[in-house]
Symmetry: none
Subunit: 165 residues, 2 copies
Amino acid sequence: MAVFLSTYVNKVDRKGRVSIPAQFRQSLAKSSAPGTVYLWPSLNHQALEGADQDYLDVLSESLESPDLDADEREMIETFIFGKLIPVQLDGEGRIVLPQSLADFAGITEEASFIGRRKTFQIWEPKALNAHEAALRDQVVRKDISLSQIIAKASRGAAARSGEGA
Amino acid sequence: MAVFLSTYVNKVDRKGRVSIPAQFRQSLAKSSAPGTVYLWPSLNHQALEGADQDYLDVLSESLESPDLDADEREMIETFIFGKLIPVQLDGEGRIVLPQSLADFAGITEEASFIGRRKTFQIWEPKALNAHEAALRDQVVRKDISLSQIIAKASRGAAARSGEGA
DNA sequence: CCCCGTCCCATGATATCCCATGAGAACCCA
DNA sequence: TGGGTTCTCATGGGATATCATGGGACGGGG
């Protein structure tokens, strides 16, 4: 499945077009619908979410799971699949940002693409900066480090495999 | 997995290129993506972190762990995967330091590579010296020693295996 | 008939590739 | 052990390809 990394800031031209970062395009190229990205408004931020066909397939399958509450399923179906817009890349690797989505995220002149592994987000650049600043405060305040997180996760994994035995 | 040791200081040329120390390259050669290093800004220092594909895979897996809370996950996805830049080695074993990362670490003329086992860091040389001096002070003040650390760790391991039984 | 969206081409900036060079380290042979 | 030779490695510069971005042309739908 496609992996999206790094942050890129690209311009939105007067036609509403914006280049998908070349790195993202390379990831998309491996998906089952290389020329299409799916966009929807983020549930948690004033930003857009993007993904490829394969990710949506997985999400779609998850919805079949009996472990989900009815209202969780309802929410996803309404706010993700209900808002999803498939967008085609043009010959130069650009998309036209749908007006409704651009408005939702407050995007006008520029758009920040930020990779989040299996998906990516599109932000109005200043909004993204503000969001990151807020997060960084938390990192400092809680004194979080990478190795800590890995240790925590692997400790949990070990405990679970221990229980299972 | 690759192991990075020792410290090297290399020059950054006017194109922003810098040689990866040959020793590090040999370690990278064993990873599943020998020609690629992943760089990101350190969470805790004005320095860059670097690792190989395999390390990132482990980190990525950790993110799937149910032991992490939502905001920890959000943080990692934003500050690690969102900032992660995959960089290709050229034929001579150099990389181009992305401008944003060089700025973050204050690197201009020279870069210090310091091995940290599974990852390495890249510092502006003077900043690294200052950082090391500060650390050394702590060692003296807290009277830390190697044998102490090893003893402490093995005591902990014994306790944990005791619990499990 | 006009407007909007799509396609195609042009352009400058940037990154990538390829070759050259010199210093230093390792090696080998006497 | 000393001297010379060979290799590796860091570093530099020029040529080439890629990418983001802008504008015009074309065509379908209202």
